[in-house]
């Protein structure tokens, strides 16, 4: 039975959770710590205390931080899902969290494709979606890409459909991007279909999905331009439904043939900020810099949802992105400490919203 979710209760809890997110001074003190061990000690004074203590029993150093962050992230989302279980807004939160299912499946496929060990793949997973830790570990145990897809199909998990349909092409070309694109496309089409556009909640979710489609398309187009992929070959990899960029605009980016030309097409769109990147980024064709800027844009847009109607899904959307941002920032700081990167450079890498 579908029950109308009382947003007053749910959103009060989410706002309570938001109040425990780390404030900028805490990040500043983490940046100033000399090594990973002192970052762990500092995190023990924050809301990560419980997970850090649990992780330190088994692990130390970077691995301890990774495990603690991953568990905290997963628990936070499972908690929100628990508040909304059985309510009509459960579908919205499921759409949001499915993003991590897709990311996890892609990670496992990538790992299997390049024969990574199970332990290495587990480190990269974020079991925040509907596929829990046990399911993901069972998938990782499979010997190859085909076995992973077969197991997904045996369990009746919907993501098996696009993978099975495109497996033949993948096995002929040995190009994993075929499977990655297929599952991405399936996710976005499914999310658009489920979200609708009637209510305020629908529009909030729709806005986030269509923005993500834009961001994914821009990233793909830039990579295809760098790799000098022809328009005929590239066109099937574009995803329909972006908020600002339709297929025609994406094709005109591809036609320009250079990164500068492609970014110029974005001049009259909210993605104009990409043209303000330093000239050497264009010269060296560093796509990762563009990807990072786009990711920042997406996170900022997500977190701005907090300013929407306080009795709507907007608060949950804002929290999901704020939590993701926080975890990403802590990870950046810890990893930079292991790589001896200066404090100034760490500050530049972080995403403050």
């Amino acid at each position: 039975m579908v029950v109308r979710v009382e947003y007053d209760y749910v959103n009060a809890r989410i706002k309570g959770m938001k109040s425990r997110l780390l404030a900028p001074p805490v990040f500043e003190s983490l940046i100033l710590k000399p090594d990973v061990e002192s970052i762990i000690a500092e995190l023990e004074n924050t809301s990560y205390k419980e997970e850090i203590e649990r992780a330190t029993v088994q692990y130390s150093g970077m691995k301890c931080i990774e495990v603690a962050l991953r568990n905290d992230f997963t628990n936070a989302f499972r908690k929100i899902l628990g508040f909304m279980k059985g309510g009509d807004s459960e579908k919205y939160i499921n759409i949001l969290l499915s993003r991590w299912d897709i990311q996890n499946i892609k990670t496992i496929l990538r790992g299997k494709n390049i024969h990574m060990t199970s332990a290495e793949i587990v480190e990269c997973l974020v079991p925040a979606g509907q596929l829990d830790n046990t399911t993901l570990i069972e998938l990782i145990r499979q010997p190859d890409v085909k076995a992973v897809i077969d197991l997904l199909a045996t369990w009746g998990i919907e993501y098996a459909k696009p993978l099975t349909r495109n497996f033949k092409e993948y096995s002929e070309k040995r190009d994993l991007s075929i499977l990655e694109y297929a599952i991405d496309k399936f996710y976005y089409e499914n999310a658009l279909e489920k979200s609708g556009e009637d209510s305020y909640d629908d529009r909030i979710i729709l806005d986030m999905i269509t923005t993500e489609i834009d961001v994914t398309n821009i990233k793909n187009v830039l990579k295809m331009i760098r790799d000098k992929i022809g328009i005929e070959e590239a066109e099937p990899f574009l995803i329909k439904g972006g908020i600002t960029l339709d297929i025609e605009k994406l094709l005109s980016m591809l036609r320009s043939g250079t990164l500068e030309g492609a970014i110029k097409v974005l001049d009259a769109t909210p993605y104009k900020f990409l043209s303000e990147l330093p000239a050497d980024v264009f010269k060296t064709e560093k796509i990762s810099v563009f990807e990072k800027e786009l990711e920042k844009y997406l996170i900022k847009r997500g977190i701005r949802r907090f300013l929407g109607d306080p009795l709507s899904i907007a608060v949950a959307v804002g929290y999901v992105w704020a939590k993701y941002n926080e975890i990403t920032n802590i990870r950046i700081i810890a990893r930079c400490k292991t790589a001896d990167i200066t404090e100034k450079e760490i500050r530049e890498e972080l995403i403050y919203v």
Binding site: E6, D8, Y9, V10, N11, A12, R13, K15, G16, M17, S19, R20
Partner: protein
């Protein structure tokens, strides 16, 4: 002949105030419960916030009582 005007006015003054209070307290109460679940230290503040809409029904009662005493 019975004058129904005053009893009806009294009923409206008290009844609407009570309905308004009930609605406000249901919303503040559920949000307060959510807040206390996450941050138990806010319990005292939440009790005060839940009690604030009581003023509406008290004012309604005062107006109703004044109508009864002064007009009847």
């Amino acid at each position: 002949m019975v004058d129904w005007g005053i009893p009806i006015g009294v009923g409206i003054a008290f009844g609407l105030g009570a309905l308004g209070t009930g609605y406000a307290q249901s919303k503040i109460g559920s949000a307060g419960a959510g807040t206390i679940a996450e941050r138990p230290e806010t319990f005292g503040l939440m009790v005060v916030l839940v009690a604030i809409p009581e003023t509406m029904v008290i004012l309604g009662f005062v107006v109703a009582a004044m109508m009864m005493i002064m007009l009847v």
